[in-house]
Assembly symmetry: C2
């Protein structure tokens, strides 16, 4: 399958490398890593085994890649206003688009430009960080749940999941993409938010009773908002407890938003906080803890007036 990776950060490089190793024709749209990867290939340091791709098809502009069968979008959600510029040149009549971005609103943004029928979304429970240019570090986990924006496109979602599984990626198609998105938010909202604001790792947060309680309180609000959205089935009663257990296993992990803040990038506050808060408010679900965290993050990163 001919696959373009748009947004070749930690997530895009890692999954793209696995897809290429699995026999697909993968084309990476690169920016920071272009020179390093064209010179020395792409090196993956992974808890599942390190490997090196000596020859990688890297490009600086999407027009050089041309039409592909599948576009995998791994952009930061704060550059979604560049979808047209970065994705349109890759899209032909039968091209499918899979966004693995964080938060809510990504599929809708793509659908507005390319029509809803070809849009798929996935949530990746992946711990990975970029290394120096030409390197990516996979620290653990990596499961993808993906689904179609339009329910009648389940067969295509299954097909994409099969391609990913064939490349060794733990991937399942789900019938309710919105549910998967909200499940991921149950993790993203507390841990991206707390860690970005306080400069503490996941392990730091969970090392105190007050930190754990803070995470659980936030999770409870996200679950209540999720279960007011008319999902195919509610999030399970023990979902927060399972997320805490999963998170405790991550150790001193630094979530992406924490790294974004440390490196002076914008934060994905719209996709991870503002839109979920709107969706909760539309259903009358109070989310005071999430609103407080979001308000503090907004102040912390605001350009001083």
């Amino acid at each position: 399958m001919r696959i373009a990776i748009v947004g070749a950060g930690a997530l895009g490089l890692y999954y793209g490398a696995l897809l290429q190793r699995g026999g697909n024709d993968v084309r990476f749209l690169l920016r920071r890593d272009y020179d390093a990867i064209m010179a020395g290939g792409l090196r993956v340091f992974s808890t599942g085994g390190d490997f090196h791709l000596a020859r990688v098809a890297g490009f600086r502009r999407p027009e050089e890649i041309g039409e592909v069968d599948l576009v995998v979008v791994g952009l930061k959600a704060f550059v979604n206003d560049r979808y047209a510029e970065l994705v349109a040149p890759l899209v032909g009549r039968n091209t499918l688009i899979l966004t693995l971005q964080n938060g809510l609103g990504n599929e809708e943004g793509l659908a507005a430009l390319f029509g809803p029928d070809r849009i798929f979304g996935g949530v990746a429970f992946l711990c990975s960080n970029r290394g120096v240019p030409g390197e990516v570090h996979h620290l653990g986990a990596g499961r993808i749940l993906l689904g179609a924006l339009c329910s009648e496109k389940m067969a295509e979602a299954e097909m994409i999941a099969t391609v990913f599984r064939s490349a060794g990626i733990d991937c399942s198609a789900v019938s309710d993409l919105r549910k998967a998105r909200w499940e991921k938010l149950v993790w993203n909202i507390p841990f991206n938010g707390i860690c970005a604001l306080t400069g503490r790792t996941v392990a730091d947060v969970l090392s105190s009773e007050s930190g754990s309680r803070l995470a659980r309180n936030l999770m409870a609000e996200v679950i209540a908002a999720a279960n007011a959205q008319g999902l195919s089935e509610p999030l399970a009663a023990d979902f927060a407890a399972r997320m805490i257990t999963f998170s405790a296993g991550l150790g001193p992990y630094r979530p992406s938003m924490m790294i974004d803040r440390e490196e002076g990038r914008p934060l994905e506050l719209e996709a991870i906080f503002a839109i979920p808060l709107e969706r909760g408010a539309m259903k009358g679900v109070p989310m005071p803890c999430v609103e407080t965290l979001a308000g503090l993050l907004g102040l912390a990163v605001a350009v001083a007036p």
Copy 2:
């Protein structure tokens, strides 16, 4: 009146200087500023007019001061475990003790050591910062509301207020000290907390709608908790709005907890957050926004495990 100032930070130096200028025999327990003040006196830069006290009675140890008529406590609340060491040598049979510290629990801590009858508390709506040693900057406001821990000691509270007023300090005795304490918390909890956590000034917080809403949401929870405590009368319905207006007038003010964090000191989290949260919980008042802010502050300043 012979007055000892214990905790000669921005608040203690400012009020102490006014009390001395007003003709009282003021004795300062000094630490950081001792050498500078003994050599060059104390210089007050104030919106009410600058002045310089050439001769100041400064001491390094409370035993050198001896018994006084009134002890004014301006310590950071996180050193309240040093009350016995720092205050006891100043206390004779008729000595009164006035704590102008932030938060809840201070009067009770003093009463446990020195008996409740002599304990008075005050809340200071003061904007002041320390300058270089030997200097203090009064940036605005300065009103004190003070009251007795024991309601039958109202006459003594009136007497202390008169001493303060005679020194040019805007000071009133109030019959319900707890109400004054909670009123101050309506300011301290949002602004000390938000500014310490985000590194933004009061003006920054109020410059955006989301920052103002965050402050108002926190204030609403503190007011609800206050009004569940059986105060002599409830906080007025427009109290939060008046606090926002007052705060907007402060400009780019840096609350004490923000400065404490920047300078690597502990934060007054127990007095300003933990005890008020406990008092709210005891009355069944939910305070999710305040709890979130307190939890984040606790993580932000925790010593990394």
